[in-house]
C-alpha cells in the first residue's frame, strides 16, 4: 500500500509535468503523420492517454509528392486521429511564445 502511494506521487509529478507540456501545445498548429502516409495539419485541440489526437480546421495532404507537383490540401475540418495510427507529431515552433522549448 505504501509503495503505491509513493508511486502515485511519482506519476503525479510526471503527469503534471506532461500536462503542462501538452497544455502549452493546445491551440497551436500541429502536423500529424499517419500510418498510411497521409499528413494532417490542424490546430491541436484535444488528446488523451491513448494519444488519440483531435485537430481542428484540419487539412489533409497525401504523401506522394512527385516532382514539383504542388499538392492541394483537402479540407477535413474537425478530425480525430487514433493514437495507434500516428507515426509522428510536429508542432509549429514559431507559435510557441515560451522560450521553454527553444
Amino acid at each position: 500500500m505504501a509503495g503505491e502511494v509513493v508511486e502515485k506521487k511519482d506519476t503525479d509529478k510526471d503527469a503534471s509535468e506532461g500536462k503542462k507540456k501538452l497544455s502549452s501545445w493546445l491551440n497551436k498548429s500541429m502536423k500529424v503523420k499517419m500510418t498510411d502516409g497521409r499528413t494532417l495539419i490542424g490546430v491541436f485541440l484535444c488528446t488523451d492517454r491513448e494519444r488519440n489526437v483531435i485537430l481542428g480546421g484540419c487539412e489533409e495532404y497525401l504523401k506522394p509528392l512527385e516532382g514539383n507537383e504542388k499538392e492541394e490540401p483537402r479540407i477535413l475540418g474537425l478530425a480525430m486521429i487514433p493514437g495507434h495510427h500516428i507515426v509522428s507529431i510536429s508542432i509549429d515552433k514559431s507559435q510557441l511564445q515560451d522560450s521553454e522549448f527553444q
Binding site: K19, R38, K63, S88, D92
Partner: protein
C-alpha cells in the same frame, strides 16, 4: 529533445519534392515532438481528456475518425495501387487522346457519359459520376471536333438539369445532389452554340453515311458496309444528345410555348433509342478487371477516383455507375414521363391537376421529370402555365367546385366592393398553402407522407379564416338575396382539401408498409367512419351549392321555355367525386368489419408485448390530426366508445361481421362499376372488391371456421386496398 529543427518528416527522402512542400507549408516552422508527446500523453489518467476550456467532449464527438473506412473517404486514395490521373497528367502520359479518336472510342465515351449522367440523376454526387469523365474537366483543350462538341453539350446538359431541379425544389438529399464542386459548366458557350456545334458534327457524319450507303446496281464491300453502320451508330448518338438538350430546353420556354416542340422532339428521341441500344456493343468496353468498392475498370478518359479529394469530409459514399443498357432504360422511362408532362397544359382546374399530379407520382418518377412537371405548371414567374395568376386559377376552380355566390356574376354580392375586399384578402392567404399542395405531390413517395402531415396546420388556419369570411358574406347576402346562403362555402372548399390531405396521409402509411396488421382496425375505422364520411358530406354540400347556383341562373332566364329547363341535364356536378368517395368508404368499411370479424373469430391476435399500450400507438398514428379543428380529432377513449360493438349490435358475431363486410365490398363494387370509362385505378379497385366479396362470403359459410391461421393482406393488386386471403 530529439529531432529538433526538422522541417521535414524524417521518413521523407531528402530533397526530392521539397520545393512543392516548402511552398505550401512554408508558413510553418516544424519541430518534431513525437517522443515528448507520447510520453506526456501516457501520463494522463485513463479516460482523462486534455483540452482547452472551450473544447469539450461534446465537440470531440463530432470529429471524423481518421482511418475508419466508414468515415474516412480519404483512405481510398491510398489503398489503390495505381496512379490516379487528372486530365493534364493523363494527357501528358498519353493515357487519353484528344484528337483523331476512333468511332468505337467516341461511342464508348458517349454511352459511358450517359450512364454517369443517369447515375447522377439517381442521387449520386456529380464528382463521382459525370465528372469522372476527364474530358469534361477541360473540353476546350480537346481537338477532336466530335468529342469537343459532345463534352460541351454534356456540360450544358448537366447545368440545365441542375438548374431545373434546383428551381422546382422537390428533391431531398436522397433524390439529388446539386453540389457542383466548382466545376465549370461551359457558361461562356450559349445553348444555341452548343447544339450548333453538335449539328455541324452531325452533318459531317451524315455525309459519310450518304457516301457509304448502298446504291442501286453497286456492290458494297464489307468494309464500306461496316463503316456505314458504325458511322450511323455515332450519328444517332450525336443527334440524340443534341435533341435531348433541345427537348429539355423547350420545356422551359415561357408560357408553355415550347410544349408542342417538346412533344415532337420526344418522339424523335424515342425513335433513336432502339438504334443506340442495338449498337452499344460497337463502343469500346472496359477491361474485365476486378471491381472494387470505389474503383472499377473504365474506358479511356474515365477515372473513378479523380475527384475523391473533392468529396466533403463526410462518410464515403460508394457509387456504382449504371450499365449502359440500364442507363438507356432510365432515359426511355424519362422520355415517356416527359410525354405525360406535355399533356399537363390541357388540364383546366386545380382539382384535375392535383388528381393528375398524384397519379403521376404513383409510378415513383425520377427527380428530373418531377421537377419539369412542377415547373410546367408553375414556372419561375409563379403563374399557372406561366399565364394565369394562381388566384384567378383557384377562383375558377372554386366556381367549378362549389359556385360561391360571391364569385358568381349572377349574384348581387359579386359587385359589392366590401365583399370583394374580404374575398381578395382571403385569397392572398390561399396561394401559399395551395402552391404547397402541388409541391407535395412532386416529392418522392416516402417524403410525401410527412409533408401531408405538415400542411394540415396551414389548411386548418386557412379554413378558420374562410369560415370568418363566409360568415361576413352570409350576413351581407341575406340582406340582398334572402333565399340564398353563404355559410360554409369557401370553408367547405378548404375542408375538402384538408380531408384529402388527411386521407393521403393515412393511405401513405399503407403504401410505405408502416402499419402492422394489429393496427388495421383503428386505421380502417378512422377512414371509414370519419374521413370518408366527412368527405362525402363535404362533396354533397358543394354539389348542393352548384345545383342552387344553376337553378338561380335558370330562374333568371325565366320565360324562355321553362319546361325544358327542368329536364335539362346539370352542367356541373360532383357525381363522379361523390361516387368515388362512397366507394372508398365502402371499401374501408368492408376491411374494418372484416378485421373485427377476424378478431372475434380468434384469427387475428393482438400482440402482448411488455409495456404495450394501444392508446400510445393510436395517438402516434393520428398525431397530425390533432392540429386540425374541423374535422375534430377523435381521441382514443372516444374511439373505443364509438367503435364498441356492443353499442350497436349486442350480439355481433364473427359471421354477422363477415356478412356486413361482404355487403360493403359488394356496394363498393357496384359503385365503381357505374363508371363508364374506368381508370386503371378504378379497375384495380373493382378487382380487389370482387375478390374480397367472395372471401367474405365463404367465411360466412363457415369456411376455415376452426382455423386460427391469420388472414393475409395482399397488396400486390393495389398498394392501398389489399386482397384478403385465407391460408
Amino acid at each position: 529533445m530529439e529531432g529538433t529543427m526538422q522541417t521535414q518528416p524524417p521518413s521523407d527522402p531528402g530533397g526530392q519534392g521539397s520545393d512543392g512542400r516548402v511552398d505550401s507549408k512554408s508558413r510553418y516552422d516544424w519541430k518534431d515532438i513525437t517522443e515528448e508527446f507520447m510520453s506526456s500523453a501516457s501520463a494522463l489518467q485513463m479516460g482523462e481528456l486534455l483540452h482547452d476550456t472551450n473544447f469539450g467532449l461534446f465537440e470531440a464527438m463530432s470529429a471524423i475518425e481518421m482511418m475508419d473506412p466508414k468515415m474516412d473517404a480519404g483512405m481510398m486514395c491510398n489503398q489503390i495501387q495505381r496512379k490516379v490521373l487528372t486530365f493534364d497528367s493523363a494527357l501528358e502520359s498519353g493515357a487519353i487522346k484528344i484528337k483523331d479518336l476512333s468511332i468505337p472510342e467516341l461511342i464508348g465515351i458517349m454511352d459511358t457519359s450517359l450512364a454517369c449522367l443517369v447515375t447522377w440523376l439517381e442521387g449520386h454526387s456529380l464528382a463521382q459520376t459525370v465528372f469522372t469523365n476527364l474530358f469534361l474537366h477541360n473540353p476546350y483543350m480537346i481537338d477532336d471536333k466530335c468529342l469537343k462538341a459532345f463534352s460541351i453539350l454534356m456540360l450544358k446538359l448537366v447545368d440545365h438539369i441542375r438548374d431545373r431541379v434546383n428551381r422546382a425544389g422537390v428533391f431531398e438529399e436522397e433524390d439529388f445532389q446539386s453540389l457542383t464542386y466548382g466545376f465549370k459548366m461551359a457558361a461562356d458557350v450559349t445553348d444555341a452554340r452548343a447544339t450548333g456545334m453538335m449539328k455541324e458534327v452531325e452533318d459531317d457524319l451524315n455525309r459519310i453515311i450518304k457516301m457509304t450507303r448502298s446504291k442501286v446496281g453497286e456492290e458494297r464491300d464489307a468494309q464500306t458496309e461496316q463503316e456505314h453502320e458504325i458511322t450511323n451508330a455515332l450519328f444517332s448518338r450525336v443527334k440524340f444528345f443534341r435533341l435531348f438538350l433541345m427537348g429539355l430546353l423547350s420545356f422551359s420556354k415561357e408560357k408553355c410555348e415550347g410544349i408542342p416542340q417538346a412533344q415532337k422532339l420526344i418522339c424523335q428521341l424515342l425513335e433513336l433509342l432502339p438504334i443506340i441500344r442495338d449498337t452499344i456493343c460497337m463502343g469500346i468496353q472496359p477491361d474485365n478487371k476486378e471491381v472494387g468498392k470505389n474503383d472499377y475498370p473504365t474506358i479511356m478518359g474515365f477515372e473513378p477516383l479523380v475527384n475523391q479529394r473533392l468529396l466533403p469530409p463526410t462518410f464515403p459514399r460508394y457509387t456504382v455507375i449504371r450499365s449502359r443498357e440500364e442507363a438507356l432504360g432510365h432515359i426511355e422511362g424519362l422520355l415517356y414521363r416527359l410525354q405525360i408532362v406535355t399533356t399537363v397544359p390541357e388540364l383546366t382546374t386545380f382539382h384535375i391537376i392535383m388528381e393528375a399530379f398524384q397519379e403521376f407520382s404513383k409510378s415513383s418518377p425520377c427527380v428530373l421529370s418531377r421537377s419539369i412537371l412542377q415547373l410546367t405548371l408553375l414556372p419561375v414567374n409563379k403563374r399557372v402555365f406561366g399565364v394565369h395568376t394562381m388566384v384567378d386559377f383557384l377562383k375558377d376552380t372554386i366556381r367549378n367546385f362549389i359556385a360561391p355566390p360571391v364569385l358568381s356574376q349572377k349574384s348581387a354580392l359579386y359587385n359589392n366592393s366590401q365583399a370583394k375586399q374580404y374575398v381578395d384578402a382571403w385569397f392572398v392567404q390561399v396561394v401559399r398553402p395551395f402552391t404547397a399542395l402541388v409541391q407535395i405531390t412532386g416529392h418522392n413517395r416516402a417524403r410525401q407522407r410527412d409533408k401531408w402531415a405538415h400542411i394540415l396546420e396551414d389548411l386548418s388556419a386557412l379554413q378558420e379564416e374562410a369560415d370568418k369570411v363566409d360568415a361576413c358574406l352570409h350576413q351581407m347576402l341575406t340582406k340582398m338575396e334572402p333565399n340564398r346562403q353563404h355559410i360554409a362555402c369557401l370553408g367547405n372548399w378548404v375542408l375538402y382539401h384538408t380531408l384529402q390531405a388527411m386521407i393521403s396521409y393515412l393511405l401513405a402509411g399503407f403504401e410505405l408498409e408502416l402499419y402492422a396488421t394489429y393496427e388495421y382496425h383503428y386505421v380502417y375505422w378512422y377512414l371509414y367512419e370519419m374521413l370518408y364520411s366527412w368527405l362525402i358530406n363535404t362533396l354533397h354540400r358543394a354539389d348542393n351549392f352548384l345545383l342552387e347556383n344553376e337553378t338561380m341562373a335558370d330562374s333568371q332566364q325565366k320565360g324562355r321555355s321553362n319546361k325544358k329547363n327542368k329536364k335539362k341535364k346539370r352542367i356541373k356536378t360532383l357525381n363522379k367525386e361523390i361516387t368515388l368517395a362512397q366507394a372508398g368508404q365502402q371499401m374501408f368499411g368492408g376491411y374494418y368489419k372484416a378485421v373485427m370479424g377476424f378478431r372475434l373469430d380468434g384469427k387475428m391476435q393482438m400482440p402482448e408485448f411488455q409495456f404495450d399500450c394501444e392508446e400510445v400507438r393510436y395517438s402516434h398514428r393520428f398525431q397530425p390530426f390533432t392540429n386540425v379543428s374541423t374535422p375534430p380529432y377523435i381521441p382514443y377513449v372516444q374511439y373505443k366508445e364509438m367503435s364498441d360493438l356492443n353499442r350497436y349490435e349486442p350480439d355481433a358475431t364473427a359471421v354477422s361481421l363477415y356478412g356486413a363486410a361482404c355487403k360493403c365490398f359488394h356496394q363498393a363494387k357496384s359503385l365503381l362499376e357505374s363508371f363508364h370509362n374506368p381508370s386503371e385505378e378504378v379497375q384495380a379497385m373493382i378487382k380487389v372488391a370482387k375478390v374480397n366479396f367472395v372471401v367474405m362470403k365463404i367465411l360466412m359459410g363457415g369456411h376455415k371456421k376452426d382455423s386460427q391461421e391469420p388472414p393475409v393482406f395482399d397488396f400486390t393488386s393495389h398498394p392501398v386496398y389489399p386482397t384478403i386471403k385465407m391460408v
